[in-house]
């Protein structure tokens, strides 16, 4: 093959639109490492979860992607673009739903979505059609002509989601998109996130809700204290826990952590919650132990179940979340 044929083949190829972060480090005030050498790659069409406890550095990472913050060192690239060197390109190629409420007090929901779509570069007709589809898809038609000031937090959150996805960038960054959103509409929102993936967007989902992430992401990274401590598909991350069960014991208020039997492989305590990893063969003695704790008044109730992504997360970060209990 001659040099000229190589060149012409290269020109016709669709460029590689993967997102690559390499060694991204953000240090505040010379000492606080909010991000520490984070390297990850997200391909077009992937929904990628960024999980971690509050203050882990998830939002710091995505703010460097969108150009609100500048990495102390490291590279952030999207396709042929260097997003650190060219924040203008980052703003055009990435859509960003921040955690904070959208400034739409005096906007009608439909207006806010359409205008953001136009600002994002969409043509009027497509933006109008997409707006209608999002309003119907998220079931917020009742509020389409209501101004932001009169909306509940959840509806306003959904309006914000529609604003940033009506004309999405190659990368869509969603920082805790389901905060305040009711369970029914959370499912509708995940459908829309899936749709974005099908259309070729790389979606970053920043969350501390492990249960939701497990259901909706293709791959995920766990970030703790600024470092990426694990990455992979939900099942690959759970593979280390295969054959394990989770025994969750709600301790009585004020009760100390009871002595653990030798067959407990791993445990973590947060508040009244004691979560222990046990082997499948130890299920029966696990139940007997938990019942014994309840009879002695050390514990109030227990639950035994299959290991989840949350157990992996707990093992990695030592952080027990309350969402699981709320979700029932």
């Amino acid at each position: 093959m001659t040099a000229s044929t190589v060149a012409s083949t290269t020109v016709r190829q669709e460029p590689d639109w993967s997102f690559r972060a390499e060694g991204v480090t953000k240090i505040y005030n010379g000492t606080l490492r909010a991000n520490d050498g984070i390297t990850l790659r997200v391909d077009p069409g992937e929904v990628y979860g960024l999980l971690g406890p509050n203050g882990a550095g998830k939002s710091t990472l995505v703010k460097q992607v969108i150009g609100l913050l500048k990495p102390t060192s490291g590279q952030i690239r999207l396709g042929p673009f260097d997003l650190v060197a060219d924040p203008g390109a980052a703003r055009q190629l990435c859509s960003y739903l921040p955690q904070a409420p959208m400034p739409i007090e005096s906007f009608r929901v439909r207006e806010a979505i359409e205008l953001t779509g136009r600002i994002r570069g969409g043509d009027a007709a497509t933006v109008r059609r997409r707006t209608t589809e999002l309003i119907e898809g998220l079931e917020i038609g009742e509020w389409a002509d209501v101004i932001g000031q009169r909306l509940s937090g959840g509806i306003r959150r959904l309006a914000g989601f529609a604003m940033v996805t009506v004309w999405p960038g190659r990368v869509v960054i969603l920082d805790e998109p389901t905060n305040d959103v009711d369970p029914l509409r959370r499912r509708l929102l995940w459908d829309q996130v899936r749709f974005l993936g099908q259309q070729g967007c790389a979606v970053f989902l920043v969350t501390h809700n492990v249960m939701e992430a497990e259901k909706s992401v293709d791959r995920l990274a766990v970030i703790d204290a600024g470092r990426l401590i694990a990455a992979g598909t939900p099942s690959s991350l759970k593979s280390a826990d295969r054959g394990h069960l989770r025994l969750q014991v709600m301790l009585a208020p004020g009760a100390p952590t009871p002595p653990l039997p030798p067959w407990v492989r791993d445990h973590v305590r947060s508040g009244h919650n004691l979560v222990a990893a046990i082997g499948e063969a130890d299920a029966a003695q696990g139940i007997r132990w938990a019942v014994h704790l309840i009879e002695r008044g050390t514990a109030e109730e227990y639950a035994l179940g299959a290991a989840t992504l949350e157990d992996v997360y707990i093992r990695l970060t030592g952080d027990v979340l309350e969402d699981r209990n709320q979700a029932g």
Binding site: Q92, L115, R130, W167, L196
Partner: protein
């Protein structure tokens, strides 16, 4: 329902057409953001203008013709910079308090288009107040003004510098509380201690010197030059001072808006 396919683009837009599109969109964004307050802003503009024009006369038994002329030709400056210099930074401070500031900074629009859109909104919001103030003054004091085409650049530059100073205060001052204090101080200083509504000779010498370096008296000079004949001198210098303040503020605002921590 057929679902609209979206193919995220890999194209980064630029050029004059893109700038104009962003400019129009941001004018609409500003107008919608202010929708609930537009009527209030318009009323404040008219009341502020009319209030000064009519109120100053209450200080005198018979207001001297020269004082009436100074007030009449100074009030337009207040109308032109009130929204940009006072309301503008307070709106930015509110965005910072409500944490929406970061979202607005991530909108994919050239920052110059964002600034130009805000300038346009401030300018348009000032002009009705200017006209009504002048009409009231002419009726109240039987003054005959002699507007010349020079009034156009005077209005455009005064509003520009006021808006850019407000923009710089809003974006470059990190603390919203400090921003609010600065704007309060500005209102107080502007009305009492700058030669907008009265001749600079009425100020103590040192304060006159300080004001020579500030833009407010010069704004009044260039507006007066456009509304009257032979009332003011040193107009070219005044244009220069106002333009330098406008340009310096625009550069400071651009730096603050483009800054990544």
């Amino acid at each position: 329902m057929a679902i609209t396919a979206i193919r995220p683009t890999g194209e980064v837009r630029s050029g004059a057409a893109e700038w104009a599109r962003a400019f129009r969109a941001m004018i609409r964004w500003n107008l919608l953001s202010l929708r609930l307050w537009l009527a209030l802003i318009a009323s404040v503009q008219v009341l502020a203008g009319a209030g000064f024009v009519l109120g100053i006369a209450l200080f005198f038994d018979h207001i001297p013709a020269s004082a009436a002329l100074y007030v009449t030709t100074g009030v337009p400056v207040i109308n032109l910079i009130l929204v940009g210099l006072v309301l503008g930074p307070q709106l930015v401070a509110d965005q910072k308090i409500q944490h929406s500031y970061e979202f607005l900074r991530t909108l994919p629009v050239p920052q110059t288009a964002v600034a130009a859109a805000w300038y346009t909104v401030c300018l348009i919001s000032g002009i009705p107040g200017v006209l009504i103030s002048l009409l009231i003054a002419e009726a109240r004091y039987q003054i005959t003004l002699a507007p010349s085409p020079q009034i156009v650049p005077a209005i455009l530059l005064t509003a520009f510098t006021g808006t850019m100073m407000g923009y710089a205060i809003g974006h470059a001052v990190p603390s919203p509380m400090t921003t609010r204090l600065i704007t309060q101080l500005l209102i107080f200083a502007m009305f009492g201690f700058t030669p907008i509504l009265f001749p600079v000779g009425q100020l103590p010498g040192w304060l006159g010197t300080v004001n020579w370096w500030l833009p407010f008296g010069h704004m009044a000079t260039i507006v007066r030059a456009g509304l009257t004949t032979g009332m003011v001198t040193g107009v070219a210098t005044s244009y220069l001072v106002v333009a330098v303040w406008g340009a310096a503020s625009a550069v400071l605002a651009a730096w603050a808006m483009g800054r990544r921590r």
